[in-house]
């Protein structure tokens, strides 16, 4: 199974617009949106939901007010400041609760319940590009890494069932939990950057992250014409780390126009920008390896 994961470190470099274009260009694939916190790929792919389910992960403490004697032990043992004491009435601020169970274990009255925590919803869908696996984390929730892992497992399952050997995944910004989870078993991590101080700085960190997990990566420079100096600096950096640059794209309002039409930039009448994206997709093929014959 080949898996292309598109990440960037810095947000807003064009991950989702490019992933949508790759989804349009790839012949047989399963599409996956691993940015479960602020997913946007569905705005272009317009999925029809086939199946969905709750994403339960971890637990949350709940104090039973009738059994609680207001001894304050829970507040003392909580490392996250999640227990509130309002005039002797103890409650859990669920947003701060880490689900560690320490208060449950130490409550002398066994007055703390520990139900499952509902963190979001996963979806298995069909799109004009093929099957799509996606999710929405509930606002303020954590455990997004576990949801990402769940989506990846579902994408693999779908691909195997359909005899497809390519998964194209849109990742989240940053380098933390959800991004780390999105990288596991990636065939190639495509790093989308831009020639700005933030673009280069954040690229360096995602390159180190890929290296940390020993994963092959390639770089795409979007909005490449914004600053020649930073573009050169990105090339120099990539050369020093032996990372291929698979292409450049200009700062072009066509990306936004396509987004407003609800289309991938390669859909509809061919534009110069679309042609460049096609070339980049072709450049990625040798790095992704040959499709397995099924």
């Amino acid at each position: 199974m080949r898996e292309l994961v598109v990440i960037s470190g810095k947000g807003g470099t064009g991950k989702t617009s490019l992933t949508a274009a790759f989804a349009h260009l790839a012949e047989k694939k399963v599409l996956c949106d691993l940015d479960v916190d602020a997913p946007d790929l569905h705005l272009i792919a317009e999925p029809t939901i086939q199946r969905s389910g709750p994403f339960l992960s971890g637990h949350v403490a709940e104090i039973d007010g009738t059994a609680c004697t207001s001894c304050g032990t829970c507040m003392e043992v909580c490392a996250y400041g999640a227990i509130q004491n309002v005039d002797g009435r103890f409650t859990v601020a669920s947003g701060h609760c880490e689900g560690c169970k320490v208060c449950v274990a130490f409550c002398p009255e066994q007055a703390i319940d520990f139900p499952d925590r509902l963190c979001g919803t996963w979806y298995e869908s069909e799109t004009r590009f093929g099957p799509m696996i996606h999710a929405q984390l509930d606002p303020g929730q954590e455990n997004s890494g576990k949801l990402v892992t769940l989506l990846k497992a579902k994408a693999r399952e779908h691909a195997q069932q359909k005899g497809v050997d390519l998964i194209v995944s849109d990742g989240a910004p940053g380098i933390g939990c959800p991004v780390i989870s999105s990288l596991s078993q990636a065939t190639l991590v495509l790093l989308v950057t831009e020639p700005t101080p933030s673009g280069l700085h954040d690229l360096e960190r995602v390159v180190d992250l890929c290296r940390h997990f020993r994963l092959p990566s390639a770089v795409l420079i979007n909005k490449a014409d914004l600053n020649q100096g930073y573009q050169t600096a990105i090339h120099t950096f990539c050369q020093s780390r032996d990372i291929p640059v698979v292409g450049h794209l200009p700062h072009d309002p066509e990306v936004t126009r396509a987004m407003i039409r609800g289309q991938a930039v390669t859909e509809g009448p061919e534009t110069p920008f679309g042609a460049q994206v096609r070339q980049i997709w072709a450049n990625l093929q040798p790095l992704l390896g040959a499709p397995a014959h099924t």
Binding site: K10, D37, A38, D40, V179
Partner: protein, 292 residues
């Protein structure tokens, strides 16, 4: 007064707005970068004489001589950081969330306090005298909220010293890290762009932050690039649209050079001075409401 600059979608201009606001802020101000995964504010404010201090999470270390393999710690741990395998107790410090439950529950005192490095907290000061605080997550570290907690402790200590206002550059998204970054704010400033992605993620941000009951306002960046759906959403939710930054090539290039927007031209400076005044009014009114 604390202003948190947030957004659902990444790359909408949080750092641009944070740096510009800090540069023209009338009262003493502390600039805090809470996007510890990809901190960028320092690239624009350029603090000098930066002091870097490692930050740690307390994780268990086993004293094998004392452990009687009762398994109480492994049973309590919700994060698979401790596992009892036959006659061996295994600790996986990378999985630990630092709750301290294992050390507390061990009847033999066999688990002692160890450390896992989360990253560093950096403090410096710009040539204009603006102190800057940044968290920088260690590459490979999965959890950002504990490091954000350390940045927050430093932030509170620094602001208390001389009653400074604070501008927080928050991480993107609406999950745990973003919520952690905005919790202390008197006003949340949402930066978005007038596109379908911008609108969708602004709606997510509104859903996440609205229950906090804090005053919120919106800045539209790259105004003119897309459609007018964001304006319609702001009207529908009663979200004040505080200012618009036009979609202009010279603005994008100025940013790409590492420039602060208020230094581009007099118009931009006036735009942000006006935004700062509006934010101050919102913070005062917000406090008035909560005292009523």
């Amino acid at each position: 007064m604390i202003i948190a600059v947030a957004s659902g979608k990444g790359g909408t201009g949080k750092t641009t707005v944070s740096a510009a606001l800090a540069s023209i802020w009338k009262r003493p101000v502390l600039a805090v970068d809470m996007d510890v995964e990809e901190p960028n504010l320092h690239l624009f404010l350029k603090p000098e004489s930066v002091r870097s201090e490692a930050a740690y999470l307390e994780v268990p270390v086993l004293d094998k001589a004392l452990c009687k393999l009762c398994g109480a710690c492994a049973e309590l741990c919700q994060f698979k950081a401790i596992s009892l395998m036959g006659a061996h107790l295994l600790i996986f410090p990378d999985m630990c969330h630092g709750c301290g439950g294992c050390m507390r529950i061990c009847p033999e005192g066999a688990l002692q306090k160890g450390q896992r490095e989360l990253g560093v907290v950096e403090a410096g000061i710009t040539s204009e005298g603006i102190p800057c605080l940044t968290g920088r997550l260690r590459i490979g570290e999965a959890m950002s909220p504990p490091l954000m907690g350390k940045v927050r402790q430093r932030m509170q200590a620094m602001a208390e010293q001389d009653f400074r206002d604070i501008i927080i550059d928050a991480p993107p998204g609406v999950s745990c890290p973003a919520m952690t970054a905005v919790q202390d704010a008197d006003v949340i400033l949402l930066v978005t762009e007038p596109t379908p992605f911008g609108l969708h993620d602004l709606r997510l941000a509104w859903q996440a932050f609205h229950p906090l009951g804090k005053p919120m306002g919106v800045v539209i960046n790259r105004a003119g690039v897309g459609d007018d759906q964001v304006q319609a959403f702001c009207r529908e939710k009663g979200l004040p649209l505080l200012t618009e930054i036009p979609f202009r090539r010279d603005i994008a290039e100025h940013y790409a050079h590492g420039g602060i927007l208020t230094q581009l031209d007099a118009g931009m400076k006036a735009t942000f001075e006006d935004l700062a005044q509006r934010l101050e009014r919102m913070a005062c009114e917000g406090q008035g409401v909560s005292h009523a």
